[in-house]
Point group: C2
Chain length 228, copies 2
């Protein structure tokens, strides 16, 4: 990826875009929790800008599903209910299925190489029960696969859906160390299907992988929650 020069960075980003990205970072990073209210004046003051750019950023975030706006009441970090999460998982499964199908058809050798390396590192994280590292690698695995599918629109829509599901994870305070062993087997099978160029298989494996992870999440939530 090309490194953007600092001059372009300042020339192509308005304050509104910078505010948008900063809020996105704080929401997805858990700093701003689902349901919490976003005060225009506070945020403007904190970031050293006026309320205008903040309001513009709010509109963009609202459209991308990260916040919800109530007129004359304010904007809030979006809360994703169990029912919504189920719906979103289904859509994600369909997108992942397409990603598998296309990746199997279009992936390039060097991309496959890097994904295999990620899976290998996932094994290591799994053995050392490093849930944090495993989670990050899992995200990288799916994102690299999305890239390999060679469809910008698909990658973009996929990322948005994943962001929305992240809100649900945040809300339910999911951990998930108990699922690591199962996931690793899935990922190996997926990589092999993609490597073979078996579109149908890759599609089905990825679709099922997402649906399974949804079921695992529900089962984990049904159990009594443990402290962080």
């Amino acid at each position: 990826m090309a490194t953007p020069t600092p001059i372009d960075l300042l020339q192509q980003n308005s304050l509104a875009m910078l505010v948008q990205r900063e809020l996105e970072r704080r929401i997805l990073g858990g700093e701003l929790k689902p349901g919490s209210k976003l005060n225009e004046a506070d945020i403007a003051g904190t970031l050293g800008v006026s309320r205008g750019p903040v309001r513009e950023a709010f509109r963009a975030l609202d459209q991308s599903g990260l916040v919800r706006t109530e007129k004359n009441r304010g904007v809030f970090v979006r809360q994703v209910s169990l029912e919504e999460a189920n719906d979103i998982y289904e859509v994600r499964a369909a997108l992942e299925g397409l990603i598998g199908r296309l990746a199997a058809k279009r992936i390039r050798p060097e991309q496959l190489e890097k994904i295999r390396a990620v899976v290998k590192r996932m094994h290591a994280a799994s053995r050392s029960l490093d849930a944090e590292a495993y989670y990050a690698l899992n995200v990288e695995f799916h994102d690299r696969l999305a890239t390999a599918a060679g469809n910008r629109t698909l990658h973009d829509k996929y990322r948005r859906i994943v962001n929305e599901l992240d809100l649900y994870r945040r809300e339910t305070l999911m951990r998930g160390a108990e699922n690591i062993p199962l996931s690793t087997r899935d990922h190996e099978a997926i990589v092999n299907a993609v490597a073979k160029g078996d579109e149908k298989l890759a599609e089905r494996l990825l679709f099922d992988h997402v649906i399974d992870s949804r079921e695992r999440l529900h089962k984990a939530l049904a159990r009594p929650a443990r402290a962080a």
Copy 2:
């Protein structure tokens, strides 16, 4: 669907949201053509508001893919290239496939009834070569199917993708009367699969239907364009 009272309508819509919807209407209606520049002051003046709400609407429309923003240059109605359209069609195919799968599982009798009625009207429009009416009915057909799938997120993402494809249609000035007979057969087969509850078949038929329509569009574009 519940009819919103006028009081709620004014209480829940800010000027920015109204501007957003108005611009969306003009873009999708072809009044504002792909590539054309949207001047803040002009729009604000025309709609009788200040530039603030217009700018907020721009941010929302940018995020939803209907416009493109260039810093210090302005916002333009998005132009969708052939390559992008191909990508978008693939994503739409995946979403339609899921719609078919879910609709086959969840559709209710009265929903099926209404969709059959739409198909019947499509036949009539086809016989009288009324392309305008046929196009509107085709949109209704797919939208009702999306509703029957019973997944709000899916319906929402589907609508956005369709809007983006509409930009492409606008740009290429597609007509398409020549494809009506083929489409009607597709639609009948789809309804039957959904009615039977055959998830796999409905999924495949809808996926292929979208891919086919993409191919038909490309073939039509390859031919010499006719005057409107």
